[in-house]
């Protein structure tokens, strides 16, 4: 690890001031940043430890019926909050489908949004990577493309955003609260993460020193609680990043879909909301035909940068299956194997 200064500010204002200079990075759960620092893929000169900042570890009701989640709430604590899981079951399922017990206990809400890509070339300082070292090129092209994008990528970068949590957040219109030297601002989730464009190194809308302080879920997000699921296809049933995932939520009225939400994970540099699919589902009776058409619409623009064309069909099927599961109804509790396409029949042993 490159040597660094370690500071522990007492307030958000102190933290924002301490991180104002380039080369400073915030430390919260540390599950991603310290890992990248060990490999040399990240090398901040100053770590600003925000893990003890007061007031950022609360879940609060908002006067307008929404919910505000402090940036320092741990992934495990949020997923195991029974009131939260009842109101936002797809988010709880996504959280529990990610990483391991140890990492979910450490990782924070804010840090999850700021996860770096798991592209192997990004993590290897000896490889060319426009995201890590602007203008250096992209050694990922021609390599194993299983974890690479099929939507929103370009010649500069084919990396994907690895978060599970962010997929239902995108579907449910979350809002990110950010504090900087100029004060506080709120950014729609859709605008928080960026596609590579010509500046793949700029992954989010955050400027140097800006701090994510909270996440808001709007009052309307709860209306999907009866029919909301997260489905994650991965190399093994636990402790693996999504090859493709989908968050699906339906609001049903009189046998028709009043409103649908769909977002995909593992397919782009940002959590991928599917507005065309949602528009296509609104007002229709739910069922296999509508779900198949919605999945087609969601992937209409997809193309493969390498040998990963299979992900386009996999994403269609994952989206349609997630919608089918959402229609069947949210389970009473998060399944023991969260978000698994291989979820067992009750009573049968999975691994026997």
């Amino acid at each position: 690890m490159k040597r660094f200064d370690y500071v522990r500010p007492a307030t958000v204002a102190e933290a924002v001031a301490a991180a104002a200079e380039p080369g400073a990075a915030y430390l919260a759960g540390g599950t991603n940043l310290l890992d990248l620092m060990k490999s040399g893929a990240a090398a901040p000169g100053r770590l600003v430890d925000v893990s003890r900042l007061p007031g950022l570890d609360r879940i609060e009701e908002l006067p307008d019926g929404g919910l505000r989640i402090g940036a320092l709430v741990r992934n495990a604590d949020l997923a195991h909050d029974s009131d939260f899981a009842r109101r936002f079951p797809a988010i709880a399922e996504a959280l529990l489908s990610g990483a391991s017990a140890q990492l979910r206990n450490a990782a924070t809400v804010g840090g999850n949004l700021l996860q770096r890509t798991r592209c192997a070339w990004f993590a290897d300082p000896a490889s060319a990577c426009n995201r890590r070292a602007p203008g250096s090129g992209c050694d990922a092209r021609g390599g194993d493309s299983r974890q690479q994008a099929v939507l929103g990528w370009n010649e500069a970068c084919v990396a994907t955003h690895p978060s599970d949590f962010c997929v239902p957040l995108a579907a449910l219109d979350a809002v990110v609260e950010i504090e900087g030297r100029a004060g506080r601002r709120a950014v729609a989730f859709e605008d928080f993460h960026r596609l590579p464009g010509q500046t793949p190194e700029r992954e989010t809308t955050l400027a140097q020193g800006e701090l994510v302080v909270a996440l808001r879920l709007p009052a309307g997000a709860e209306a999907f609680s009866a029919n909301a699921r997260y489905l994650k296809v991965r190399e093994r049933t636990s402790f693996a990043f999504a090859v493709v995932s989908a968050a699906a939520a339906l609001r049903l009225e009189g046998g028709r879909i009043a409103e649908a939400r769909l977002a995909l994970g593992g397919v782009a540099a940002k959590p991928w909301r599917c507005p065309e699919a949602e528009a296509l589902l609104a007002g229709r009776p739910p069922g296999p035909e509508a779900f198949r058409q919605a999945a087609e619409a969601a992937l209409a623009e997809a193309r493969a940068p390498g040998d990963n064309a299979f992900k386009i069909e996999l994403a269609r099927r994952t989206a349609a299956r997630a919608l089918t599961l959402a229609l069947a109804g949210t389970p009473a509790r998060v399944p023991a194997l969260p978000a698994s396409p291989f979820a067992p029949v009750p009573g049968a042993l999975v691994h026997a």
Binding site: R3, F4, Y6, G30, T31, L34, D35, A101, L103, V350
Partner: protein
């Protein structure tokens, strides 16, 4: 940059001086002689370094030592009460739920955390909860069975002691 850290480890007050870039695992093993926590991958994948930090199961390889300031750290060395092993430790011995043993401290700390949260887990729950602990000898089956049997033993011991208490109340 050096940092002076005051913390509590297995109930004892500790003070140490470390570099800012040293992890909690580095300090436990190299400064404090607590070598029960192991370094397998150093990237949070294998769980051999699992400890409890303020009652929360974490990988000590992904925690800076400086972050332990004012916290309560519990390691595998604090799991037995004197010479009396924790039921999980005794069961791992009885069931030979280990091969080379490198992963064992991490599995024990993680399994104890599991049973404290969920005293009656299903096999699926045990396997899913312990996914953050890798056994490269691949001895998972005995480990999972040992955890399930310990849970059953602890439950029946609890029921017995609860039964004795209620019997005592009746006779009083």
């Amino acid at each position: 940059m050096t940092v002076t850290v005051t913390t509590t480890i297995n109930g004892d007050a500790e003070e140490f001086v470390c570099e800012a870039d040293e992890t909690l695992l580095d300090v436990l093993r190299d400064h404090l002689g607590l070598t029960g926590s192991k370094e397998g991958c150093a990237t949070g994948d294998c769980g051999a370094c699992s400890v409890m930090l303020d009652g929360r199961l974490v990988c000590s390889c992904l925690v800076l030592a400086a972050e332990a300031e004012g916290r309560q750290v519990e390691t595998i060395e604090g799991m037995a009460r004197g010479r009396e092993l924790h039921p999980l430790q005794q069961k791992f011995l009885d069931a030979a739920a280990l091969q080379c043993g490198i992963c064992t401290p991490g599995f024990l700390v993680a399994a104890k955390a599991l049973l404290e949260r969920n005293p009656d887990p299903s096999e699926t729950e045990v396997r899913y909860w312990l996914a953050g602990n890798l056994c490269r000898c691949t001895g998972y089956d005995k480990i999972v069975r040992a955890v399930l049997e310990t849970a059953a033993d602890m439950k029946s011991a609890d029921m017995k002691s609860a039964g004795m208490k209620s019997a005592g109340m009746r006779s009083a």
